[in-house]
């Protein structure tokens, strides 16, 4: 068994300047073929934006000294290092990752809502961040081979789909994104998706009609599914629960294979708090059992989820 040398890295207390801190690997462990690390990352950039609808977003770019493989759909638990309040780390889907000669650069997009995301919004370049990850499972791209992939994003849910889009493109899968938000400024990462997929493959929907069609993103998705024939596409979606539920209904009707990435409040992110319960279909009399979004997901096959009416 491997001996963990996290004590060599973990610096107790907070009085150590970043330059003297050998930030990086604290504890690592092979999870099957996956490496999970509890590290301190350094903020490179934290860009804040406010949309016309008044919603506020942050784009956080971190650098870490560990090179660890991150798969599309996985997430990390983040918290400003050594902050007492808020107590719990926040679950964030990896948006983009870049291998560096001396480590890894990771990016996250978050909407500033509660105390956790507010504390993240106060991070400045050079600040330290506690990062536990990568956590959770990944999208299954096997069924996308020989089909077209439809990505459906609601708000900051787009972040969890970007690396998937990259992978699908590199696998030669024809990929189209449907992205929805309140207003033109509430479509995080949309420009980058257009760059990656081509503007003609990015379909926008906004509630106020300031970009793309007016209304929910599920409407152009439904129109598209009606318009196509032959072998059905595969849908990958991430966004608010009502959107995912609607996507699941549409998918069921059109018999489209669908994978949904769920969001849930979590205290730990690695399976011990059992706070992130999600109802999974089961043969038991009640028809469902509770699984965990963090370790059973966050990506689930649509047909496995039990939706309460």
């Amino acid at each position: 068994m491997r001996r963990f040398n996290f004590r060599a890295y973990r610096v107790p207390g907070t009085n150590f300047p970043a330059a003297e801190l050998d930030y990086g690997l604290l504890a690592d462990r092979l999870r099957g073929d996956r490496l999970l690390i509890d590290a301190i990352a350094i903020v490179e950039r934290n860009q804040l934006n406010q949309s016309a609808s008044g919603r506020r977003y942050g784009e956080l770019r971190l650098k870490m000294t560990n090179r660890v493989e991150v798969r599309p759909g996985q997430f990390a638990m983040l918290k400003p290092h050594a902050d007492f309040e808020p107590l719990l780390r926040r679950a964030m889907a990896y948006y983009r990752c870049e291998d560096l000669a001396d480590g890894l650069r990771v990016e996250f997009i978050y909407q500033i809502l509660g105390r956790g995301t507010q504390s993240l919004s106060r991070l400045r370049p050079g600040d330290m961040v506690d990062l536990l990850g990568p956590l959770g499972n990944t999208y299954d791209t096997q069924p996308a081979r020989g089909r077209r992939a439809l990505l459906v994003a609601g708000g900051v849910g787009s972040a969890a789909l970007y690396m998937l889009a990259e992978n699908l493109r590199s696998e030669g899968v024809e990929t189209r994104l449907f992205i929805g938000g309140a207003s033109a400024g509430d479509l995080p990462g949309v420009d980058r998706f257009e760059e990656l997929l081509g503007a003609e493959n990015v379909i926008c929907a906004t509630i106020d009609g300031t970009r793309g069609t007016e209304g929910f993103v599920t409407e152009p998705l439904q129109d598209h599914l009606r318009s196509i024939e032959a072998r059905g596409p595969i849908i990958y979606a991430c966004g608010p629960d009502p959107m995912l539920h609607r996507v699941a209904q549409i998918a069921e009707k059109s018999e489209t294979t669908t994978q949904l990435s769920l969001e849930s409040p979590m205290a730990c992110g690695f399976g011990i708090c059992v706070g992130c319960a999600v109802a999974i279909k089961s043969d038991c009399p009640e028809g469902f059992v509770y699984g965990k979004v963090c370790t059973d997901g966050p990506v689930f096959r649509s047909e496995d989820l039990y939706w309460a009416e």
Binding site: R10, P12, F84, L88, G275, A277
Partner: protein, 310 residues
């Protein structure tokens, strides 16, 4: 620095390599933590609460963060005692740590049923009884809130096993010392305290409780002073050893409980936001003993200095 004998301590006849355990409900079945910490360096593991049969748990939302802590209403979701000894225990007992299943039920018979199943498992060092459940055969009040009922379930479980039994006390009582004395008289080998404090949080926009269960258990640093006070009071009321729980996140926190009268401590909510918390406390306690010139952490148990006699 290695874990030396300075941290070795005996509680309820169980020898622990150090006095740092992970608290029930915050370390899964132990193995879940093995991905992040070296269980061989841990004093012991109190598992997620186990019942005779699996429990599905409450509907979401199950958790909400509050200032300095969190509320949870998981609903005791667990795989059941049988699945624990078949699927988890064989792997867990490979680690050099003490294994203490946490057990609960909604009637005295259910506690006994769960313990009888666990008696089949090898490598279990003792049991921790969660007595904060409602006793459905006695009006639904928690066992922990009534000295007679707390004693009744303790005695029943003691008669069902030869393994040591530690009873986990609730802080949601008027006189925790009275409950502690009753449980001691009923034969408990040790007490662990405290379980979560019942709390509630409301979303003022929707006017709905933030937890689907309406109320939940408050844990984390927010409850630490209450827990230290409980340990201090109970240490003066009973002779059996105590294991302190409640918002322990740092070495200093653990030391407070030990000085107040606890022979060991359990790290709970802190593991959620700092999985290394228990390991850091192990190292920190040893460093403290060295710095203070203590031969054993035992010398610190209940060593609080008071200017007045109580």
């Amino acid at each position: 620095m290695t874990d030396g004998a300075v941290l070795h301590i005996e509680v309820a006849g169980i020898g622990f390599q150090n006095p740092v355990l992970t608290a029930s409900g915050t370390c899964g079945y132990g193995l879940d933590m093995a991905e992040l910490i070296d269980l061989n360096r841990l004093g012991g593991v109190c598992t997620k609460g186990l019942s005779a049969r699996p429990m599905r748990g409450n509907a979401p939302w199950r958790i909400v963060e509050t200032h300095g802590g969190m509320l949870n209403a998981i609903g005791l979701q667990n795989i059941g005692a049988r699945a624990f000894i078949e699927d988890k225990l064989p792997r867990l007992r490979r680690y050099n740590t003490r294994i203490i299943p946490n057990v609960f039920g909604y009637t005295v018979d259910e506690y006994i049923e769960a313990v009888r199943i666990l008696e089949d498992g090898d490598g279990i060092h003792g049991y921790e009884l969660n007595i904060s459940c409602p006793n459905v055969k006695a009006g639904g009040e928690s066992f922990a809130n009534d000295a007679h009922q707390a004693a009744e379930v303790t005695e029943a479980v003691k008669n069902a096993t030869r393994r040591p039994v530690m009873v986990k006390l609730s802080p949601n009582v008027t006189d925790i010392a009275a409950i502690a004395r009753a449980v001691e008289s009923a034969g408990a080998d040790a007490l662990s305290l405290v379980n979560t404090a019942v709390g509630m949080s409301i979303d003022v926009e929707t006017r709905r409780p933030r937890l689907a269960n309406i109320t939940g258990g408050l844990s984390g640093p927010a409850i630490k002073p209450i827990a230290v006070r409980c340990v201090f009071q109970v240490a003066r009321a009973v002779k059996i050893p105590l294991v302190g729980i409640g918002g322990i996140a740092t070495t200093e926190d653990a030391l407070e409980f030990i000085i107040a009268g606890a022979s060991a401590v359990q790290v709970g909510t802190a593991s959620f936001y700092d999985p290394q918390a228990a390991m850091k406390i192990v190292d920190g306690l040893e460093a403290y003993c060295l710095r203070k010139g203590l031969d054993s952490i035992r010398d610190l148990v209940g060593a609080v200095r008071l200017d007045q006699d109580l």
